[in-house]
């Protein structure tokens, strides 16, 4: 604040006019979500996360959707700051909208969205103003399954199963033991439920309201249009998963 006094008039002007001094670069997360877990299964990908959002250590919210569809082919799940996630969603949907407006038969798949996210997040961390999230990105396009992750500093990779936050310590060891390529849908959901249960028991910021989302290769269901459908399932941790409904088509 008082660095002005020691400066020459010229630099005075500079420091007065420059907004640099007023930029707060480093932010901290306020309302946060905890782990997201994602796996590939035989016919697609599955993402699971609870619906809690904590204000500091207070479990403040119980109905936050931290897994969202992006375009026709992708699902995104985020842990970390909820408002930063909302900003990411806004940006991604803008990109998808712009892509759709070409209306030329080309569309952004999970790989493209993942790469865009990586660039976005890495760019923001280079401004020392990071988006405080760990993000799981899954999708299916042209019969290809895709599952990847980005961290808040831009570290990105693909894998057969991924998890953010506490999930890295508690869920991935289970997945390493039990995941295999030919998991059926039911086996996949059961496996994720096991992970979410361990997380609920051990992670104090987890809540017992779990959302499991999935994308699958639709020609498995004999879909003539070979389009991909997005379905969303609700579940409590009491093991009864319920089919919630068809969310997006084509």
């Amino acid at each position: 604040m008082n660095m002005v006094s020691s400066s020459t008039p010229a630099t005075n002007m500079n420091s007065l006019m420059s907004s640099e001094d007023n930029i707060q670069r480093t932010q901290y997360p306020y309302v946060t979500g905890t782990s997201v877990v994602g796996i590939k299964y035989k016919d697609g990908i599955l993402l699971a996360g609870d619906m809690g959002a904590s204000y500091g250590s207070t479990l403040r919210n119980k109905t936050v959707d931290r897994i969202q569809p992006i375009g026709k082919h992708s699902l995104i799940g985020a842990s970390g700051d909820i408002s930063d996630f909302q900003e990411i969603l806004r940006k991604l949907n803008e990109v998808i909208l712009y892509d759709n407006m070409w209306d030329d038969g080309n569309s952004l798949g999970p790989k493209e969205v993942h790469n865009y996210l990586t660039r976005l997040i890495y760019n923001r961390r280079n401004k020392f103003d990071p988006l405080w999230n760990s993000i799981v990105l899954g999708g299916v396009k042209n019969g290809q399954k895709y599952l990847g992750m980005v961290s808040m500093i831009g570290v990105h990779f693909e894998d057969n199963h991924v998890a953010t936050g506490f999930g890295n310590h508690l869920a991935r060891p289970i997945l390493r033991d039990e995941w295999h390529e030919n998991l059926t849908f039911e086996e996949g959901v059961k496996l994720l439920e096991k992970c979410m249960r361990v997380l609920l028991y051990r992670d104090r910021s987890a809540v017992n309201k779990i959302r499991v989302c999935f994308l699958f290769i639709s020609n498995v269901l004999n879909d003539l249009l070979s389009a991909f459908f997005l379905h969303i399932l609700y579940s409590s941790i009491s093991l009864d998963l319920r089919f919630y409904g068809v969310n997006a088509a084509s």
Binding site: W102, D104, G105, N106, S107, K111, E112, N115, Y116, R119
Partner: protein, 280 residues
């Protein structure tokens, strides 16, 4: 000196509803040496005629690689063509930085056309004096586009631009029916034949043409064929082709060469007619 009082400025309309400066720019495309493009379901072939300005100089490059999946062939002002190819390269590289995937060519062509259009609407600018045949692949398959100085663009199965391109167009119009199912080799063959039509008696050799091809799949990235490969293709397909112009030169000297020569000779007819590159 001036054709009329309405052609001093790109933005000035003539009473007949024409923009003369834009038309002159399109004329520059017709003055350039010929470039042709054709496509099948899986491949796009671009080819051009190389003309040296001077006995002592080499020719200018007319085909440019834009990215692994896109290439352009140009006719008109080469310098303008290079500026536009640099723009296209940079658009492609930015797209793959952002999305790690190739830029759909239809989108690149629209951006290019918008760039050209701006020049027709600003009094302190001039239109680009170059026509571009943009060929490439994306999710929806192989595409060939023609971009012209007016900012218009068109998609084609096969097209030819530049001087004496009408002859090549006539050839392509006759043959394009089979192009969609054509193999890479047959497409190259048709490209060379079409190119020969624009030469008017001159012999087609690897030193007066450039051929480039891009196809679906790994190992089929856009590449400009080297001289040896082109010469091998000419030798393989064009033996008759080389003699046909010679026969035409000799004026009815030798009709005994059979089918291929005859075809070559008849091609020469509409070729000569279309030699004045003024229509369209």
């Amino acid at each position: 000196m001036f054709r009329n009082q309405y052609d001093t400025d790109v933005t000035t309309w003539s009473p007949a509803g024409r923009l003369f400066q834009v038309e002159y720019a399109m004329e520059a495309v017709k003055q350039g040496s010929a470039a042709i493009g054709l496509r099948s379901k899986t491949h796009v072939v671009l080819a051009s005629v190389n003309k040296a300005n001077n006995e002592l100089s080499s020719h200018q490059k007319k085909i440019f690689k834009v990215d692994d999946h896109i290439g352009v062939a140009i006719a008109g002002l080469t310098a303008d063509g290079r500026v536009l190819s640099r723009y296209m390269r940079s658009e492609c590289i930015n797209y793959s930085y952002l999305y790690e995937s190739p830029l759909p060519i239809g989108r690149l062509v629209v951006q290019l056309a918008d760039k050209a259009q701006v020049c027709t609407q600003r009094s302190w600018k001039r239109p680009y004096g170059v026509g571009l045949l943009v060929g490439g692949l994306d999710e929806s398959g192989a595409h060939l586009y023609y971009n012209c100085p007016s900012g218009n663009y068109f998609e084609y199965q096969a097209f030819a631009i530049g001087s004496r391109s009408q002859a090549a167009k006539t050839y392509l119009e006759r043959k394009f029916g089979n192009f969609m199912e054509s193999s890479r080799e047959n497409l190259l063959k048709d490209a060379l034949f079409a190119l020969r039509e624009t030469l008017q008696g001159e012999k087609l050799t690897s030193s007066n043409c450039t051929v480039a091809v891009v196809g679906v799949g790994k190992g089929e990235e856009f590449q400009i064929l080297d001289k040896e490969t082109v010469q091998a293709l000419i030798n393989e397909f064009e033996i008759a082709g080389e003699e046909a112009p010679a026969a035409a030169d000799a004026e009815d000297a030798a009709p005994e060469q059979g089918g291929a020569t005859e075809q070559g000779a008849t091609d020469q007819g509409p070729g000569n007619e279309g030699a004045a590159p003024m229509d369209i």
